[in-house]
Amino acid sequence: MANLFQNPTSPLESLPPIDEDEFEPMPARYRRQRWTVFAVVVCLGIGVLCAPIVWLALQEEVIPDPVWGMLIAMGLISVLWAIEEFRGFPVRGVLLRERDLTFRSGFWVRETVTVPFNRIQHSEVSQGPLARAFGVCTLKLYTAGSSGANLRVPGLDFERAQELRAYLDERAGKS
């Protein structure tokens, strides 16, 4: 591999590819966190919409069409979101290579972002209250050129995130 990197005229085929099968999956605890958020939001949404329907039904009044429309829209969004969670979670994963880190995510919109270590300005590990309850954290990598984190990897195991960060901090900014 080292030889290849010193050879600028190498043909495209011999470049080290990003192997789609080698991605490291996210921990199951993060899956539980995502489903919990899903369940809470959907229950709240449907609850808020069902309350006026039940109340109007008890009053034996006509339920206006927009309310039904909103309920249907809510149902559709929930289904799409559930598919995203169900099919999208196995897609989520990080791939650590010698010189870069790749994060892949999303079912409806799939994105694979690669950040080379020698372009990292600084890194950050953060953990909100919900993530703390589930024992996961977010790794953020910053490169030049835009505000905010350029790569966010949510749902990492806390130890794994620290490991990753130590590994790439050692290599950050160097070529």
């Binding site: 990197f5 010193q6 600028p8 005229t9 190498s10 495209l12 470049l15 080290p16 590819p17 990003i18 010189r99 870069d100 079912f107 409806w108 919109v109 799939r110 994105e111 694979t112 972002v113 690669t114 950040v115 080379p116 270590f117 020698n118 372009r119 300005q121 600084h122 910053y142 490169t143 030049a144 050129g145 835009s146 505000s147 350029n150 790569l151 070529s175």
Partner: protein, 485 residues
Amino acid sequence: MNEQARVKPVFSQAKRQHVLGVLRFFTRNVWTLARSFWPVLAGLAISDSIRMYAGLIGAVGVLFLSVVAFLEHWRFTFKIEASALVIERGIIERERMVIPFDRIQTVHTEELFWHRMFGLVGLRIDTAGSSGAEVEISALKKSEAQQLNTILSRGAMSHSEAVQPLVQLDWQKLLRIGLTQNHLRNAIISFGAVVAVIEPLMQWLEQGMDALPWAWVWALKLIWVLAIPLFFLFFLLVGLLVSLVGAILRYHKLTVRLADNQLEMSGGFLKRFEFKLPLHKIQMLESKSGILQRIAGFETVRIHQARSQVTSDGGAVNVLIPGLNDQETAVLASRLFLEDFTRGAKVLRPHRLFWIRRSIWRSVFGLIPFLLLPHPLVLVLFIAWMLWSVLASLRKYQGTSFVVKPTELLFRTGWRVQVKRRVEWRKLQRVSIRSNWFMQRKGLADVVLSTAAGPITLPYVRVESAKQLRDWGLFQIESSSAPWM
């Protein structure tokens, strides 16, 4: 070196700006205040009971702001300490900024009209990365400013009068630049301005009508339709005038020089500016040309530097050179890049679904007004919009391509306004591949190449090509040991 050693002691003591720096603090505070509290101010202006005390409030406000500005000026000092510029500022909360010379991107000098009246110069210092946004030392004596500028630019960037300028805008060129700006936009803005004051205008018009003999009024009532194109023409002319004046104010006596390792630019009418930019700090070269500009045979070139993390708008760090012809652009590009794109380059095109999907989406968007207001006229407008969308998408698709060379990439897009962006692979910051569900099924993806000056998106590429592009880009970034800025 000799010169540096001589001038350095001058700034080793903490120094204040020229006393007129107060003016800059004052105007800036007024501006910030107006911008953040304009709803409150507008409300106050309307309220009658408060308007009675307007004079008093105004006087107190001005007095307060003046005192603040003076204190700010008093507490703002700068000095040079071990190859870094040290700035201390803040009235109550003191702030000490240390800017190492090699973190300085560019030093702009600015002369507004009041600067010139007192022989002063303002310096604006752009820094890169996360060390902070820009710093301004707004009023210095000319000699001091020159000394400081020389030190900050590490002596190497002395002015090179000897170099033949790449661009020197004379009146004729300036006129052409003004004439090829986007007049429609300016016309619409001026139309908006007229609409805003239409009410008093109408009164005035009615009074005028009363004074006219009745035959004239009748004639006017009959021929007012003819006045519409006249009005249109009038606003177009106003737009043209605005463009011309704008071009003259901004680009008066614009001179661009390419010295050994830096780009030097100066110009401006009311506000004269001058700065130097090391060539290796340039991240991306973008040229843009509208229809009028293509007819006149030139384009606007924008030079992108790295945007800092703090100023995400990046307004200050882009350098715009208007009115370059093909030859001049080629000279500029040849100084920044090595590859020759005219020969043996691999050309990639987006998949044709790019324009099909684009026209469908734009048409669907146009359907909304029709659904809200089903009327034959709206239907006709919708069909026109649909045809336009299809045409525009198709032409944009035809105009979009990316030319790939081993070390560089050229991205072209656009139809009426054509854009070309050129970058070195090794200057990229990160690479991503993005595809929605539909594109995944068709085996297509967008490749997003992020530079320090913003992203370039290659739309609707075959997944295999996308992966090849990504792998090549990563290889170039990771194997390059040269600094990216």
